[in-house]
Each structure stands twice: as structure tokens, then as C-alpha cells.
Symmetry: C2
Subunit: 111 residues, 2 copies
Amino acid sequence: MPAEPASLASVTETALSTAEAEELAHVLRAIADPVRLRLLSLIATHPGGQACVYDLSSEFDLTGPTISHHLKVLRAAGLVGTTRDGNRIHHWVVPASLARLSIALAPKESV
Amino acid sequence: MPAEPASLASVTETALSTAEAEELAHVLRAIADPVRLRLLSLIATHPGGQACVYDLSSEFDLTGPTISHHLKVLRAAGLVGTTRDGNRIHHWVVPASLARLSIALAPKESV
DNA sequence: CGCACATATTGACATTCTTCGATCCAGGCG
DNA sequence: CGCCTGGATCGAAGAATGTCAATATGTGCG
């Protein structure tokens, strides 16, 4: 159950309802972690925009399961997608999800 | 000790260092909460772009201290500023801080 | 078929966050 | 001066989160 449509405007434009705030906070919380932020960044900047856990693990002082856990959170939030290629599982960033956050946090236009 | 300069590019453009990730995560975590998200939204959309705790409290089923705590987190993250006007304390959103997050989360340009 | 390798899941523990009640500080007013 | 009101701070209880070791799943190869 990934979830709802999505607010398409900035939170500074119109007041957020409780439900909207909770849904948005859920996605933001997924990205509000140093490890997941770096994971996202590493995946996005990796050649081809894809990376497997093996590539990523070497960048962290964390165990495999921990990396896997963080990727699961990102996946659950719809921020990354995966494809299985033989033994490896490739992860990529979902641009639309990121764009939604970027728009939601945009400051009010100083018209 | 608010902190460092600020990454001015999207996390999808260049790989984040550990320090950058932590600093950015710190600010994101401040905003990744339903209550604080609504607080920010309510302040921004309030007439004049300002609001005092008294205005905000009525929108929540939370006690005064809790609202105060959340505002403190937002203030510590540099997302809102305050001015004392007699007995009331007015809060406003810092557009630059929000803009920084918005830019950091922007998806990679599909050139 | 069975082993080896890449990643996911589970269960447990420590840490951090949210919220509250009680208390404290600051400014206006009688 | 004394009190009331708008807010902040403190300390504690409960829930959520990050991390690990151990175990499970699935894929390719001999």
C-alpha cells in the first residue's frame, strides 16, 4: 500500500491537512537519515544511475543487513526502484518522488 | 552552533560526503514530522507570514509545551525565526532554508 | 543436485524522539 | 508591587528507529 496521490503544491502555499502532513512526513522521514541520504546520492551519481548493494556497501562502515534495511525503507517510500539482474539487484532513484518533495518544500514565491 | 555553509547542489548531482549527509539529514529530520510540517505550513500561510504560538495551538490536539518543543526544533534547524512583540512571540519561515532543501532534493536534470 | 554467492528477513538491544505534567521566566496592567 | 497571561524549560514515560548477529531466500555454476 504505497499510498495516496500527492500534494502538488508547496506547503507554504496552502495549509496542510493532517492527513497530507502525515503522508508527506512519512516520505520525508525516509530520506531524513544520513545513511539513506548518501545511499540515494550514491545511487543517483553511480554510472548508469544504478547500483547494487555490493557497490554501496563498500562506501559504509555498516553491515549488509543494515544497508539492506535502509534500502527497504527507501523502496517503501517509493524513492527507489529495483531490478534483478541475475544475482545482483540493481537500485535506481525514482525522479518523480524526489521532484514531489522538492516542490513541496519550495519557499513561497516572492511574486 | 547552527552550522556549516550548505550544499548548493542536488544530492543527485554529486555524491554526498558523510559530513554533508549528516548536516542535511539534521535539517530534514527537523521537517520530517507531521506536526512540524503543519506548523511550518500554518506559519507560512498565516496572514503576514507570521504567527504566534497562541494562533497555532488551536490547530492541534497537543499541549502548549509540545508545540513549543516542536517550534524549538524548527528554530534550531534554522527553518523559522522569531520576534518578540510585547507579550506575543511571532514566528516566521526562513525562505532560504526551505530553498536549500528544495534544491538539495531536486531530481537530476534530464538535460 | 549441491555448493557458493548476493541480498533479504528476523529478533534483540541501545539510542533517540514524541508527548506529557509541573515548573519557571518575561512583559503588561491594576 | 503583585498578579495574570503568553511561552519556554525540565524530567519522565512510552513509542519508534538504527544497528547488529544469525538465519533464510533465491540465483548461477560445477
